[in-house]
């Protein structure tokens, strides 16, 4: 019983991270039609920023998070302007370009951090929150959970309550029709990848003290993001958030009882099953051809 409750709490916190980067991937795919394979590497850059500035140079954690967000956003904007916009007619070309970026960012991380073992960032918030005498949640995780929830809340507000957010959702629904309404597609694409990049940077910065940091950490991130995106329904942001929480719980429980690799295999099988039974995902809308 204690193990189950503990796993539920861990799963929920994990779900916050999953949602942060999966939502960014969905946003970029929805608006620009590009599968950003380098999304995991954007998260990795966020984590490296924290390692370099906070753990190595002692700059306080909160400003470092902001720096990570800005840095990753800028990388995202550069990718949009110089890679995705010139190749917007060919989705495959965008995908290949993002793979090129993936290689470059991995090498940059190796150059900055060296090739040695994975880096660790000591948690800036020490101590453990003890609930009902048996649930133990480190303060670092509590902090991460609330910040990711706040990030997602801000995104929700932006998308549903501001004019720019409406424009963004309109472009995701129908590019040409929105262009005819006078929406500047290029500007919206910039905003989409900016928001996606900012969320990836935030996810990376928050994950940094809780995980091993190495140049290849993006691999697991992108697999998770794919699973969450498919299960939630491609193009559905609320679906991605719900799927992130469901998948995080699923993954945490299987990891606790059977081990991490089995959990990932089950996750991938879950994704294939969803693709077969309900390709539109739990919240997706069927798109006519």
């Amino acid at each position: 019983m204690e193990l189950i409750l503990q796993s539920i709490i861990n799963g929920l916190i994990q779900g916050g991270f999953f949602a942060l980067f999966a939502v960014g991937l969905v946003l970029i795919f929805g608006v620009m039609g590009v599968v950003n394979f380098a999304h995991g590497e954007l998260v990795m850059v966020g984590a490296y920023t924290v390692w370099l500035l906070h753990a190595q140079n002692g700059i306080p954690f909160i400003p470092v998070i902001l720096i990570a967000i800005i840095l990753v956003t800028v990388i995202g904007l550069l990718m949009e302007r110089f890679l995705f916009r010139p190749t917007c007619n060919d989705p495959l070309a965008g995908l290949i370009c993002s793979i090129g970026i993936l290689f470059i960012l991995q090498v940059l991380a190796t150059v900055v951090g060296g090739d040695g073992p994975s880096k660790q960032v000591p948690p800036p918030y020490q101590g453990t929150l003890i609930l009902f005498d048996f649930l133990r949640v480190p303060y670092q995780r509590v902090f991460s959970f609330f910040v990711s929830a706040a990030g997602l809340g801000t995104l929700w507000y932006f998308l549903t309550r501001t004019k720019l957010g409406w424009a963004l959702r309109a472009v995701a629904l129908d590019r040409e029709a929105s262009a005819l309404q006078g929406i500047n597609i290029n500007r919206i694409s910039m905003i989409a990848i900016g928001v996606g990049g900012a969320l990836a940077g935030l996810a990376g910065a928050l994950m940094a003290p809780l995980t091993n940091i190495n140049p290849h950490m993006g691999h697991n991130v992108i697999i998770t993001a794919f699973i969450v995106t498919i299960v939630g329904g491609v193009g559905s942001l609320s679906g991605a958030v719900i799927a992130a929480v469901i998948y995080a719980l699923f993954h945490t429980f299987i990891t606790v009882y059977f081990g991490g690799v089995i959990a990932t295999i089950c996750g991938l099988l879950l994704m294939v099953v969803v693709l077969i039974i309900k390709p539109t995902g739990i919240m997706g809308v069927r798109v006519s051809e």
């Binding site: 793979i99 150059v111 089995i262």
Partner: protein
């Protein structure tokens, strides 16, 4: 004029083949190794092209190569089968797995197929990692020996190169014939005019699956060929990293004709060797070249040749492009 060009082409092909045969004798040991892997990779990209003919880009091809390689390795280690039996059985196993996977996978198209094939492949690969018996876990298996026939020891790179060259040439010839056959033409039709093809009675689902099975069969052979020379097999050899390289070779080379991917793998392998001195920076240089070639040469390296022919007024217009 035309006869002369034809004659020149035949002479060029003969010189090319003769070059391939004498080439390993002039190379250092390290390059002989590389030549064998290059030969295998040519089969990998050529078989991938059959899959892409129908317009579906799969991300499971590297894992299919692994299926063939693991089949060959397990057959060799457990039953001591010779390479003559493991090669076709490896291909057959990859084809069989592809046939089974085609039921779920080809319910999807485009983006969903891409992601679905990626997921299925990762699930297979993680299975190899998870089960120490019989797959050896993440450490893999070792001690897979190349064959020995009479006094010819295939442990030596040069005889093994001739073996690989023979097998790969035969496979390439079959792949080329398949593409030019009725099946190949139907695959083109399924890609460019799926509704029209359906309206004249072509079962597009079945042809997509067929292309996938044929491609997997040949890449399975390639996997077995590689593993018999390498001697060790690990799940990471067939990860998304290698799949990405397959994609890069095909896209940088160009995928309108069967020559494009082959050109891509040869040129990029040579390029990769020439930047070996840069050490850990190598992937970044690779990534940069990839982006540049996508931005400035979207039809691939082969388009240089077609452009050159058009410039000379011979008209090298490929018939495989999209219909107007």
């Amino acid at each position: 004029m035309k006869i002369i060009i034809r004659l020149l082409k035949i002479i060029a092909v003969i010189i090319f083949l003769a070059g391939l045969i004498v080439l390993p004798h002039y190379l250092k040991f390290h390059y002989q190794d590389l030549l064998i892997f290059l030969t295998v990779n040519v089969l990998v990209v050529a078989s991938y092209r059959i899959v892409t003919l129908t317009g579906e880009w799969s991300l499971i091809h590297a894992v299919m190569m692994g299926v063939g390689a693991y089949t060959a390795a397990l057959l060799f280690k457990n039953f001591n089968l010779a390479i003559w039996f493991t090669l076709p059985l490896a291909g057959g196993m990859a084809g069989l797995i592809a046939a089974l996977l085609s039921f779920p996978l080809f319910r999807m198209t485009q983006f969903y197929f891409l992601i679905g094939s990626f997921a299925a492949g990762e699930a297979i690969r993680l299975t190899w990692m998870q089960f120490i018996v019989p797959f050896g876990g993440s450490g893999g298996l070792s001690g897979i020996e190349p064959p020995m026939i009479g006094s010819i020891d295939f442990m030596d790179p040069i005889p093994y190169y001739y073996l690989a060259l023979g097998v790969v040439s035969a496979c390439l010839f079959i792949l080329y014939r398949i593409e030019k056959s009725r099946i190949g033409l139907t695959l083109h039709a399924v890609h460019w005019k799926a509704p029209l093809a359906q309206s004249v009675g072509v079962d597009t689902w079945r042809y997509r699956a067929l292309a996938f099975i044929i491609g997997s069969f040949f890449v399975g052979i390639a996997g077995a060929l590689k593993i018999h020379y390498l001697g060790t097999i690990t799940p990471n050899q067939f990860g998304i990293g290698f799949m990405v390289f397959i994609l890069i070779w095909v896209i940088v080379g160009g995928y309108n004709t069967i020559f494009g991917p082959v050109i891509g793998v040869v040129v990029l392998t040579i390029f990769d060797e020439s930047v070996r001195g840069f050490g850990e920076l190598r992937p970044a240089i690779y990534g940069g070249v990839l982006i540049i070639s996508i931005l400035f040469l979207p039809l691939g390296l082969e388009s240089i040749y077609t452009k050159f022919l058009t410039l000379c007024g011979i008209g090298g217009n490929s018939s495989d492009g999209p219909p107007p």
